[in-house]
Symmetry: C2
């Protein structure tokens, strides 16, 4: 199978780490978003929404959404579990995953897309035509990401991982969000949050995170 | 169990319809977001993020995220299935659900929160302090919702429901998004999309949608 990938984008990385944790092999093809390759006719044939990642299975089926790709492999290869093992743990992990996306990843993306000069007239991801940057979203995004960091610190003072006592897809999402926020979106890693820093070091030490 | 609810907000409605489809009974407590009851100390004790819905189980466990609540009950009561029955259908439904949220619900929410006068300084949902409205988000949101409608029409020309041939959580999300967009966010229902209109009439006829 073939993963349409973008090395520096957070959601393709989430899938790569997830598949590495599961020990699943696949081929990769890099699509350069800054150069607009995700909006080329060839790629829109694969994924009309123009977003990454997209995974083409060996029978040609396309899965065009990061968490959906993870769900597919969690169902096929439940060991090691990354999305919970019973109703309550599945619900908790899903809640925390979505908190990370809504509170952290989306605002960090708004900071990046609305600040980066080459996205000035493509300030919203995917196949949506011309969308001009809105400078106020940069400041709003920074405020929201700072609240996200603060919440993570409070929660990681109570539990070892983002969704409780085991590593899960929520940790993968949080790691990719933080790395994206602190590099692409240029938001400093908060230096006064010791539980967050300790969690970050633990998670970053996993071999999967270099995938 | 007790659902902290808001009658007119789209995500609590998604949960109510999902539970009605499953035939699950529960108590409800209305929390008025416009009046700021979601930011009261009493509610923040239940859900520190200040968002709705939140469900308190009989043992006191709180599930504070709409899709996570649905996941919990899908696992406990898989019949009728609303989130898929095998790896591929689960992945497809998850992908379509997330498309609906990202392409439709989030931009419609931006239109509403940034246009409605009483949210002028609370223009982002939940417990995030003062966020001033950004008028440009109203126009951006309307553009994105129009693309969302157009995509739905194209897809519903190919399949009966949002994620294929069966009713699923993705249909619930799309219905709640459209009703929210056309009432609260005051975006007209597109009158030239016959597949979308036919789907809308079919789905709206389900008894669960009045929950």
């Amino acid at each position: 199978m073939l993963l349409f990938d973008q090395q520096h984008a957070p959601s393709p990385r989430r899938v790569r780490i997830f598949l590495a944790e599961k020990g699943i092999a696949y081929d990769r093809k890099q699509i350069n978003i800054v150069r607009g390759e995700n909006l080329s006719p060839e790629f829109l044939e694969i994924n009309p929404r123009g977003r990454l990642p997209a995974l083409v299975l060996d029978d040609g089926t396309v899965l065009d959404e990061s968490v959906a790709i993870c769900r597919y492999f969690e169902e096929l290869y439940p060991d090691p579990p990354l999305m919970g093992t019973d109703a309550l743990s599945k619900a908790r992990i899903e809640a925390r995953l979505r908190h990370v996306e809504f509170d952290g990843l989306l605002p960090a993306s708004e900071v990046f897309r609305n600040a980066y000069p080459r996205f000035q007239s493509r300030a919203f991801g995917g196949n949506v035509g011309t969308i001009q940057a809105i400078p106020e979203l940069v400041n709003r995004g920074k405020v929201l990401v700072s609240i996200f960091f603060k919440r993570l610190e409070a929660e990681l003072n109570k539990s070892q991982y983002i969704a409780g006592e085991g590593f899960s897809i929520a940790d993968i999402a949080a790691l990719c969000t933080i790395d994206f926020a602190t590099t692409s979106a240029r938001i400093p890693f908060p230096d006064n949050y010791s539980a967050l820093r300790s969690w970050y070091q633990t998670v970053t030490a996993r071999p999967s995170t270099t995938a």
